[in-house]
Amino acid sequence: MSDVTATPAAASAPQPRTAKPGRRALARFTSNRLAVFGLIVLVFFLLFCFLGPLFYQTDQVHTNLAEASLRPGERGHLLGTDDVGYDVLGRLMIAGQTSIIIGLAAGVLATLIGSFWGAIAGYVGGWVDSVMMRIVDAGIAIPATFLLLIISTIARPSVPLMIVVIGLVSWLVPARLVRAESISLKSREYVLAIRAMGGTHSRAITRHIIPNSVGTIIVNATFQVADAILLVAYISFLGMGVQKPATDWGAMLTSGISYTYAGAWWLILPAGFCIVLIVVAFNCIGDGLRDYFDVKGRLK
């Protein structure tokens, strides 16, 4: 008997310790060119918006009509100034802060709410699941922008308010995705084992179901952030976003649009370019992460 036990153990035991999972994971992610591009763009924007103002100092609080509507390059304003005299390049940085902060925070908030909602609905099942998912269906039926516009007319829009509101309208998609994961994961034997040993449901959800849905969750989160940045731009473009002197890229577009026909391209093109670029960057990162988490694609 001991012979028998020894041989197969020897056959399967000496698998070399797989070296540095972190490094391999990075290699797999960086093999996707677009994802690397997205990551570089994102890092660039973070440096540009958050460190840029330290090096390129401009007054973004007080209007300065003496320097209004300057063309790029005039009097040291690299991208010119707008109709009330704010430096456009400096303003892009400040606006970018707002857009990125709201986008990231709202995306994370939506993902958190959605993940827990979906994980609980899928795990519990039965009528609880039905009720929870009908709430999601009802939420999806109401256009998010419509809700946002109503809320911005009632309350004075501020960054925290916008984060909460956007977070509260965009958790529905992650909820659906995670519910589907949760339903398949709850019948896995390691989840059954937890239930059989008398472990709590919260343990099953937080330690097993959510960690094992992390691929879906993170990939979706990147798309959520991109969507949130677009939504902020959209709301601000309609004039319902953060109020002056604070601004974001969408608000810059609005204030610039009336001068476009006067040839003031620098008021809208840079802001529009930033919005497009960062949304594309997040989507590329999301695609890269999806390939990374997709187990099927792993063995080439």
Binding site: D3, A196, T200, P211
Partner: protein, 598 residues
């Protein structure tokens, strides 16, 4: 056997020095390292080995169905032609026509949206075997030949209307359609229940004898080999270690590895076939629910006597049982229709006793295990663990939660029983985190110490603690599952097919560890398995389940030697034995039993 006459004949398949290497990102992995085989018309050659031995790769190489990363060397001659030199179009003419394939999973091998008859005529017309107007007729004839009842009607039906065994018959009919010279069958019965497996093997044996078609049977099951094979080729890590007539290899293996492999296969003792098959029919008042105690009084037990007295004691005192099911009923309702998975089943497991639960798929044995774990909704009756009722409830109270600390569980699939995102240490320590250890909260130092102890107990190296489940082999993962189940030193372990996904030699070592732990800790165990020999190996008592009920219960040495119930007899006669002599006896008994049913 036929091997004496084979050299005179021309082989239909001649494999020389076959090598297969897979070129992967991690370098070249050799799967087959130069094997030579010959296959003669009308014979069944079994290619056996454990997972990773290269047996399936060999069979796929014959059909040139390997993925592009595989580099094939050596020659494969089919009736004198070198298959490697054929163009892809010519090769397609060979596949299905001259060499047909039967796959493991009959559920996915058939197209669910096509009528069965059409799936057969498709092959016939593809290879221009017969004119269009004759094709349907031929399809019906083929269905009849593989033993499908009412072939005219069935040909117009769809695959979902058939049982798994019948579907595999249809797959074989499709393989037979063009009168191929060779049929390659890759684990054709592995997905089927033993009684169905026995029928399919009968069919294969019959076809090989009457049609002169050669079968290349790829299998891991020595019992299947003993049942149908004329010759056996044993593979181990890409090498052919032994080849010869089935009887010789099975009874007197020459290679070291074949001997070890055969030793690892659990064997049932010789059953009392004269009694079973010769028994008079319709004994009045056939005891359907034989109690353990009852059968003890009738036959003198030798081993397991201690545990039986435990069982009697438990029954007399009512509460001193590890697990007690009283008229437990489990029903599943789906879209208005109710399915009774467990029908008023009563079973008692005494402390320290291992009870095997056998039966085929759908018999309710897994449901019984789940009910015992409080994971199945009880429609009636009670389930008690150490006297404490267990129910499937959304929220457990403190007492119920504590009761569950006394039960450990081991599941079948080593791939899904451990959370892939947890280290082995976290997996094993999870029960400690949930329940604490020896009345204290389990601190991380305490957990680390206990995990090391448990890894020692299941004979795994301590440094496995920091690894992740995917770095371990199936057998190692199952040991981790075992370590987790005993983490709290429970009084009862529910093991649901713990070894059925493992190779036999790995199974033997996992069972050895389980047995040793049971002796050390003295827990009771409900051991659910479809493999009678494994149950006989490990269990003191055995209960046979059939269609949601227990039809027979008693000492393993009794029930698995002298079964009383008709179904148990059939089950025992269908269980394949690696001993060709015993297997022949079982086949004869099966025929007698089938006759007596008809």
């Amino acid at each position: 056997m036929s091997s004496e006459t084979t050299p005179a004949r021309e082989p239909v398949l001649d494999i020389t020095d076959l090598t297969v290497d897979f070129h992967t990102d991690n370098g070249v992995i050799p799967a087959v390292k130069g094997i030579s085989l010959t296959l003669y018309p009308g014979e069944v050659l079994a290619l056996v080995g454990e997972s990773g031995s290269g047996k399936s790769v060999t069979s796929m190489a014959v059909l040139r169905l390997l993925p592009g990363t595989a580099k094939v060397g050596g020659t494969i001659r089919f009736a004198g032609k070198d298959l490697a030199t054929l163009s892809e179009a010519k090769m397609n003419g060979v596949r299905g026509k001259d060499i047909a394939m039967v796959f493991q999973e009959p559920m996915t091998a058939l197209n669910p949206t096509m009528r069965i008859g059409d799936q057969i005529t498709e092959v016939l017309l593809n290879h221009d075997i017969c004119p269009k107007d004759r094709a349907w007729e031929r399809a019906v004839e083929l269905l009849g030949r593989v033993g499908i009842p009412e072939p005219e009607r069935r040909a117009k039906g769809y695959p979902h209307e058939l049982s798994g065994g019948q579907r595999q018959r249809v797959v074989i009919a499709i393989a037979l359609a063009c009168n191929p010279r060779i049929i390659i069958a890759d684990e054709p019965t592995t997905a089927l229940d033993v009684t169905v497996q026995a029928e399919i093997l009968d069919l294969i044996r019959g076809l090989a004898a009457e049609s002169n078609t050669a079968f290349l049977l790829v299998t891991h099951n020595m019992g299947v080999v003993a049942d149908v094979a004329d010759r056996v080729a044993v593979m181990f890590r890409g090498n052919l270690v032994e080849e010869g007539p089935a009887e010789r290899v099975l009874l007197a293996p020459e290679a070291d590895y074949s001997r070890r492999l055969l030793d690892a296969v659990p064997k049932l003792p010789e059953a009392a076939w004269s009694e079973i098959a010769g028994i008079e029919e319709g004994v009045p008042g056939q005891v359907l629910q034989l109690d353990g105690a009852l059968s003890i009084t009738e036959s003198a037990p030798i081993d397991g006597a201690v545990s039986v007295s435990d069982a009697e004691f438990a029954r007399a005192h009512g509460t001193d049982s590890a697990l007690e099911l009283i008229d437990a009923t489990v029903q599943y309702t789906r879209k208005g229709s109710t399915f009774t998975a467990l029908d008023a089943v009563s079973l008692t497991i005494a402390r320290g006793e291992i009870v095997g639960l056998v039966g085929e798929s759908g018999s309710g044995k897994s449901t019984l295990g789940r009910a015992a774990l409080g994971l199945a909704p009880l429609a009636g009756g009670t389930v008690n663990i150490f006297g404490q009722p267990v129910r499937d409830r959304a929220l457990l109270n403190r007492r119920e939660r504590q009761a569950r600390a006394r039960v450990g569980v081991i599941f079948q699939d080593p791939g899904s029983s451990l959370d892939p995102r947890m280290t082995i240490a976290d997996c094993i320590a999870e029960p400690l985190v949930v329940h604490g250890w020896q009345g204290k909260r389990a601190s991380s130092a305490l957990r680390r110490k206990r995990v090391a102890e448990l890894l020692d107990a299941v004979e795994l190296p301590r440094d496995f603690a920091d690894r992740y489940p995917h770095e371990l082999s199936g057998g190692q993962r199952q040991r981790v599952g075992l370590a987790r189940s005993i983490a709290l030193e429970p009084g009862l372990i529910i093991a649901d097919e713990p070894t059925s996904a493992l190779d036999v030699s790995v199974q033997a070592s996992v069972l050895a560890v389980l047995r040793e732990l049971q002796e050390r800790y003295g827990f009771a165990c409900l051991f659910i398995s479809h493999d009678l020999a494994v149950v006989h190996d490990i269990a003191h008592r055995v209960a046979v389940m059939y269609r949601g009920g227990i039809v027979e219960e008693g000492l393993s040495s009794d029930v698995l030697v002298r079964p009383q119930h008709e179904y148990s007899k059939r089950l025992l006669a269908s269980a394949p034995s690696p001993d060709p002599v015993e297997q022949a006896r079982r086949r004869a008994a099966r025929a007698v039993l089938a006759e007596s049913v008809a």
